[in-house]
Point group: C2
Chain length 239, copies 2
């Protein structure tokens, strides 16, 4: 992606309006879940037609900035000002992208876990424990539930790091990570091994031991990488 300064000139009215709604959220310090003024009210305040407001809100919804609940109203989304967002039209990542993803994770997640060992609140540690309990229940068969719990475990560690950018990065990579999980978690021995590794990472966090946590995270992700390679290209690239 190159910068295309030309795009700003072509910025449509709804883009401009989307920016203004974003700024309104910021200026009024609205929090996730807070209700925005109605579409008619926004249209009146900004001096535009209601369809333009709707178009702007749809764009913001796509980015997670607002949440349109039909018949209920428009609410501030769970992340009102992210630096980056996952591509909502992303395809199934291919083999090479998945290997690049795990290499990128090996570069990012040890930092997340080191920071989390220092910064995680007791509530965040409890939430991580609850996710692993859920994963344990799902181990025998419920693959989708297992993958969601495991994905949540990694994402919540990034959140517990206290670094907003690292958390957003992990979050934006979520869809691709889900694909990775499907591939590496389809045999029982691997699921059990990765689950045991997750438990060991959580213990290091609970003991506030960054060095141990980093080493365990790194070993874990190297194992995921190996599992991806072993799964081979037919499985790895299902599209």
């Amino acid at each position: 992606m190159e910068d295309r300064p030309g795009r700003v000139q072509r910025q449509s009215l709804s883009d401009e309006l989307a920016q203004r709604v974003r700024r309104l959220i910021q200026q009024r310090d609205l929090q996730p879940g807070d209700r925005l003024p109605s579409i008619l009210r926004l249209a009146r305040d900004f001096g535009v037609a209601p369809p333009t407001v709707r178009e702007a809100l749809r764009k913001l919804e796509m980015l997670g900035v607002v949440d349109i609940r039909h018949g209920l109203g428009v609410f501030v989304g769970s992340d009102s000002d992210p630096l980056l967002v996952r591509n909502p039209f992303e395809g199934a990542p291919g083999a090479r992208m998945l290997l690049d993803l795990v290499d990128a994770r090996i570069s990012i997640e040890p930092t997340c876990v080191a920071l989390a060992a220092e910064n995680a609140t007791p509530a965040q540690l409890a939430a991580l424990g609850a996710l692993l309990d859920r994963a344990e229940e799902a181990l025998p068969a419920a693959e989708a539930a297992l993958n969601e719990a495991n994905l949540g475990f990694h994402r919540e560690i990034a959140r517990a790091s206290g670094n907003l950018v690292l958390h957003q990065l992990l979050d934006a990579l979520g869809t691709a990570m889900r694909q990775e999980q499907r591939i590496v978690n389809h045999t029982r021995p691997l699921r059990e091994r990765f689950h045991a590794e997750h438990l060991a990472i959580l213990r290091a966090l609970e003991q506030r031991d960054p060095a141990q946590a980093v080493e365990r995270m790194r070993t874990h992700l190297e194992g995921v990488r190996q599992a991806l390679l072993t799964a081979g290209s037919p499985d790895i690239n299902p599209t």
Copy 2:
């Protein structure tokens, strides 16, 4: 950002169409700059009205997947299937976000530069050199040109790593990094120091020395962090 499975159900016709256009690009293996069928043709092929096609294309344009050139047609964008994208409605990042950003960069960019020391092609090394030439010309006064060249230097190192995900991450963080540059590059001594550090990083890449490149990148980013802290909150948070 939580997952909102409800969003899929509410997926509009134009979202569905955007997905189909993305898949069409993938299936026909269209490359950046290739022309897509006309809006009328797409409308006929997909059995929808032209305004729906236009809406879908606008969404894809926002994500960099297509490039709409008025009067010329619709072309494949420079990155047709990114895992993540920068938020087009992002605000100016505040002080905390900028510090988190530089910490995230310290976690990501040493990996980028280590891989680039091994994988950069001669053409990529030459392009990095050309960016630093441009930066040098801009050093005395032309701040915007300097910042663009410097930003390009970091982004092209991520590209030269050969890891698609790391490149996308750096690319998606571009707007926030631009803000960071404006803050740390406003005194001449700092500009000259960072430029000298960039030159030293490039020399390590040219010598194919990953350890040296990593050490220099880390020192450089620690210096950027320090400069951000020194700039202090009034400058750091201009909105």
